[in-house]
């Protein structure tokens, strides 16, 4: 059955039509919720709240977008509502994550070496795949929500910056800054963890 017809039936009270609409998107919504929240408990709450909200608002859905897009937006709002209630940390300004200027160390090899960034090449050689995955997922989950949301939408959900900006209700410039700070912060934490492991494995 066509989506339009399913929506029409759902709006007139046909629960089976609604279930069919939901079923086509529930895996995607759960995946999004898991990435945004970083844990199963919150992801389940987001999914549940999303579908309940979809029932509340089904009669307001005017087919201006695909049903999946509409549901996706509800899920983003529910995730944000959940994390808005919790205290979130802040990330530092972009400059905090940048290496010291090369002109500072030029001509002084020992200073240069001390200021050098750790160049991680193959973290896969330092970690078992599962441990690496768990570490990365934990670091993403530890980002303050507003940064995590922007990062996840941009790089994991792979939305263009413009769409991320629309989804989170910020200007493109503010969105880019948020995405970059998240990326820099993650990079720095990964570098610390990889360097530490590298030194312990190959002192």
């Amino acid at each position: 059955m066509e989506e339009t017809e399913l929506v029409r039936r759902a709006q007139s009270g046909d629960f089976d039509a609604f279930t069919e609409l939901i079923n086509a998107h529930k895996a995607q919504i759960y995946g999004l919720a898991l990435k945004l929240s970083g844990n199963e408990q919150d992801a389940e709450d987001i999914v549940q709240d999303t579908f309940l909200r979809a029932i509340d608002k089904i009669d307001q859905f005017r087919l201006e977008s695909a049903f999946g897009t509409w549901l996706y937006r509800i899920a983003l709002n529910q995730a944000r509502a959940l994390f808005n209630k919790r205290r979130q940390g802040e990330l530092g300004p972009i400059e905090d994550y940048l290496p010291p200027g090369h002109e500072l160390s030029a001509g002084d090899p020992s200073l240069s070496a001390r200021l050098a960034l750790y160049d991680w090449k193959d973290p896969e050689k330092l970690f078992e795949a599962e441990e690496l995955r768990t570490t990365i997922d934990r670091l993403i989950a530890e980002l303050p929500y507003l940064y995590r949301e922007a990062f996840v939408l941009r790089y994991i959900e792979e939305l263009p910056v413009k769409e991320v900006a629309e989804s989170i209700g910020e200007s493109e410039a503010a969105t880019k800054s948020r995405i970059l700070r998240a990326r820099l912060a993650l990079r720095e934490q990964l570098a610390r963890i990889f360097e530490d492991r590298h030194e312990r494995k190959m002192p």
Partner: protein, 85 residues
């Protein structure tokens, strides 16, 4: 000067994700050729995203499916005043 690299911080996002004009790209690349820390920064920023992307898709937990089904039915009934079959 803040004493920090890179000088091209405002263009960093666009450089990493594509979307910069070739002239600015060439300037940045010239800098990367001369500044080891910036080369490492760019490399590892790229790897950060590729590592984050590698997650696997998780299916809905069966317990959630069951709970959802009951919950949504009850909510539907409250809204439409009739019990779904």
């Amino acid at each position: 000067m803040s004493g920090k690299c890179p000088e091209y911080v405002n263009e960093l996002n666009d450089y990493l994700d594509g979307g910069l004009d070739t002239e600015t790209c060439a300037q940045i690349e010239k800098h990367l050729g001369a500044c080891e820390n910036c080369r490492i920064l760019i490399d590892t920023l790229r790897k950060t995203v590729s590592l984050c992307r590698g997650g696997k898709k998780e299916a809905l937990p069966p317990a959630l499916e069951t709970r959802l089904n009951d919950l949504l039915k009850a909510h539907w009934e409250r809204k439409f005043g009739r019990r779904p079959s």
